[in-house]
């Protein structure tokens, strides 16, 4: 039907127009153009990027808008003309949005009014770039033409590609090509061949030994942070992912670990200067005890009390650390400096490469522990409590003790991460322990795939690694987090890599069970 094409075009046009306007108003046009510029090797950290990059940015987004405006080839009535008209309508509508926006802000600029008073992200430079360095009228017309043309062209192209079956063929080919190296097949062949497995582990180990030396300080910093967040994610996953008890103030235990470690090793407030390893163990232990104490009064309640209590606890810890009350003891808002690095046999190793190794080892140990716990009797009890606490109790599980154990282990792991973090930065202060850390960890667990260990790795890389690399998007991190969470809840409520249950029925079923022991 023609009307459906028109409706589709109108809808896509309005959506796309609003997206362009929103991106402009929050300053993302500059960031996006900057990213394009970065691809071409042009850095533009101080001024707005060249209009050409902005044009490319707009064309890229237009391509997506055009593709969504083109009707799917379901009915045979779909013709190229329809696709083009749909695309044209979408392009004209969204182009109008952009043009009107350009006219308004171009006019403001011409009248010497600085919109930054109301919209801090809209700088004169960004307006000029938005108008492609032309006058406001000329720029708006050009922008309109650019958007209209690229949206309708990409709508036609998308229609053509879909109709010719190219996309399907291509995706099938890619899938076939990929399935050759897909985990399922590879795992199957690996399990047949123990040597392949040894080779795989040896190769991974070699890569992990060589890479930190090869890729330099910046990457060691970024990936070290990712590693610490992996540890945090694995820790939070125990109580929230497996036992199903939401903990919002997870940063409290991170802070306790970091400060315990810092106070024991730094010269400044107490001059204790303890050994790195003892302090690391004590940081872990103290955080675990804190988790235990927090859990004692509330974990026999059901529901989300734990979330609220830990939320409050995290804020209390942070404010206490910052307050005058404890300045004597924790140096207050200044934070603690010159925290010790690791030593081994009296020799200190504090280079970024050495620390990266330490973090890799810590990640490895925590991952290993998590895998061991996951499907154990204890892990099953946690998951049973998560799924139905009443029934779990009626099958003989002491839910209170189980949850308490989960929280204690979670907190201890956070303490370990905190101690490592403080030691690597050789500094810790109240501002390292804001609630945003908890939110980050919670997000990476949920987005990656709640309850799933590889999912947490993916989540940490995606949510902690990517923003570090894409520094330009730093300001939009919260926005993207929010959008990502909403989209995830809608499309993949179980995360990118949802947890799978192990196949147990036939494990050591036939005769070899006796021999293996």
């Amino acid at each position: 039907m023609r009307t459906s094409a028109i409706n589709n075009g109108l809808r896509s046009g309005v959506i796309f127009g609003v997206i362009i306007a929103a991106m402009f108003l929050i300053g993302f046009t500059v960031t996006g153009a900057g990213l394009i510029g970065k691809i071409f090797g042009v850095s533009s950290s101080y001024s707005a990027p060249a209009p050409a990059f902005f044009a490319i940015f707009i064309i890229l987004i237009s391509a997506w808008a055009g593709a969504s405006a083109a009707p799917r080839p379901i009915a045979e009535a779909d013709t190229l003309r329809q696709a083009l008209s749909g695309g044209l309508i979408a392009g004209v509508v969204s182009g109008l949005f952009a043009a009107v926006l350009g006219l308004i802000f171009g006019g403001l600029l011409a009248n010497q009014i600085d919109p930054r008073a109301y919209l801090p992200a809209v700088s004169p430079d960004s307006i000029k770039m938005f108008l492609l360095n032309q006058s406001s009228l000329m720029g708006s017309v050009l922008l309109f033409a650019l958007i209209a043309a690229s949206v309708s062209a990409s709508a036609g192209l998308a229609f053509f590609l879909r109709n010719s079956g190219w996309v399907e063929n291509k995706s099938k080919q890619t899938f076939n090509a990929l399935s050759g190296i897909l985990p399922a097949e590879r795992a199957a062949s690996l399990s047949r061949n123990p040597y392949a497995r040894y080779a795989f582990w040896a190769l991974s180990a070699a890569a992990l030994i060589i890479l930190p030396r090869a890729w330099g300080g910046y990457w060691n910093y970024v990936l070290g942070t990712v590693g610490i967040y992996i540890i945090l994610g694995l820790g939070l996953n125990i109580i929230t992912g497996w036992a199903g008890q939401l903990v919002i103030g997870y940063v409290a235990f991170f802070a306790i670990g970091a400060y315990t470690f810092a106070l024991l090793t730094a010269p400044e407030p107490h001059h204790l200067m303890w050994n790195f390893w003892i302090a690391l163990a004590l940081g872990t232990l103290t955080a675990g005890i804190a988790g235990l104490l927090i859990g004692l009064p509330i974990l026999n309640l059901r529901g989300d009390y734990l979330a609220i209590v830990t939320l409050g606890f995290a804020e209390i810890i942070r404010i206490l650390l910052k307050s005058d009350l404890l300045t004597e003891f924790t140096t207050g808002p200044r934070g603690i400096r010159d925290i010790a690095g690791p030593t081994l046999f009296g020799q200190s190793f504090v280079s970024d490469v050495d620390f990266m190794y330490l973090i890799i080892i810590a990640v490895f140990i925590v991952t290993f522990a998590a895998y061991r716990l996951q499907n154990s009797r204890t892990g099953k009890a946690w998951f049973a409590i998560n799924l139905d606490e009443t029934v779990a109790r009626a099958t003989g599980i002491n839910a209170f003790v189980s949850k308490l154990l989960a929280l204690t282990l979670s907190a201890a792991i956070a303490g370990l991460a905190g101690a490592l973090y403080a030691s690597r930065n050789q500094f810790t202060g109240p501002d390292d322990h804001v609630l945003m850390v908890s939110v980050n960890v919670l997000c990476l667990v949920i987005v990656g795939g709640i309850g799933n260990i590889p999912g947490i790795f993916l989540g940490a890389f995606a949510l902690k690694g990517l923003p570090e690399v894409l520094r330009e998007t730093e300001n939009y991190r919260l926005l993207i987090f929010g959008a990502l969470l909403v989209v995830m809840m809608r499309l993949r409520p179980e995360g990118f890599l949802p947890a799978r249950r192990p196949a147990l029925e036939n494990r050591d079923a036939p005769s070899p069970s006796g021999k293996e022991a």
Binding site: L373, S376, R393, A394, T395, L504
Partner: protein, 274 residues
């Protein structure tokens, strides 16, 4: 024969409502006992008192002559009382065999440290749990379905899996809350035979709540009738069937026998569903 479970003047109040009113009940060892009564008679509440989910305000509950009222649910389960639920409550996101392995929780000892270090105890228990899980799956005729998520199993299989999970703790007393609810006549028949097998082969004492009078009359050694929380009759199926008080006082005056009334009602309900 000694008593397996015994309630002495157990009362449970919800605000002003007396859900269970001074109920005395004695179930001998290795017996199949039924509790019947109209909806809201307090049958499930009594179950919840026995399994430790509710604490009765008054009275005593003795399990092999040891008082258990007021004990936490997990402790009661650990002593050897397992149960199923009126509306099936499996761990849906776990596989069938994992459900059974959770059911075996009280039987084993390995803690988190064993899991971390993968001690001999941990490995032995794990292997034993899987073997026992496989055996129970076979017992409830679910072998081959062990690695399916529990929520994906068909209805009858879920009922049987729930019983398997209850059996996994090797209980001495099994509480079944409407085990044939929602089943067609063939499935009901199969479940009845299955319950009798449980008692005959495993020697477990069974206390069940059931609305299907064919099942109740065919299977029970002893029937207790509750109405408004009070016990109004007790005895062998034959006695209950002809007990005028039971028939008139709470099934209505126009029916001649218990079986007839429930049979027609269930049939009607089943026809309406299909």
């Amino acid at each position: 024969m000694s008593a397996c479970i015994e309630t002495k003047k157990v009362s449970k109040l919800f605000g002003g409502l007396t859900a269970v009113n001074e109920v005395n009940l004695v179930v001998p060892e290795h017996a199949i006992a039924s509790i019947i009564g109209p909806n809201g008679a307090g049958k499930t509440t009594l179950f919840n008192c026995i399994s430790g989910y509710y604490v009765p305000e008054m009275g005593e509950i003795l399990f092999y002559n040891a008082p258990i009222q007021g004990q936490p649910t997990y402790a009661v389960a650990g002593m050897g009382i397992a149960r199923t639920y009126q509306n099936i409550r499996l761990f849906g996101e776990m596989t069938a065999i994992e459900n059974i392995m959770v059911g075996q929780y009280p039987r084993f000892k390995a803690g988190w440290i064993d899991a971390l270090l993968s001690t001999r105890r941990e490995r032995n228990e794990e292997r034993e749990a899987i073997a026992e899980g496989r055996r129970l799956l076979k017992f409830v005729e679910l072998d081959g379905l062990g690695d399916h998520l529990a929520r994906n199993l068909p209805y009858g299989a879920q009922r049987r899996l729930e019983i398997a999970r209850a059996l996994a703790s090797q209980p001495r007393l099994l509480l079944l809350d409407e085990p044939t609810a929602g089943m067609n006549p063939q499935e009901t028949e199969k479940m009845t035979r299955f319950i009798r097998n449980l008692r005959d082969e495993l020697g477990i004492t069974i206390l069940l709540i059931e609305h299907d009078m064919n099942v109740v009359m065919g299977i029970s050694d002893q029937i207790t009738v509750l109405d408004y929380g009070t016990k109004i009759a007790e005895g062998k199926p034959k006695d209950i069937q002809t007990n005028q008080r039971v028939i008139e006082a709470y099934l209505g005056p126009d029916v001649t026998s218990l079986t007839q009334k429930y049979q027609t009602r269930k049939k009607r309900r089943y026809d309406a569903k299909s």
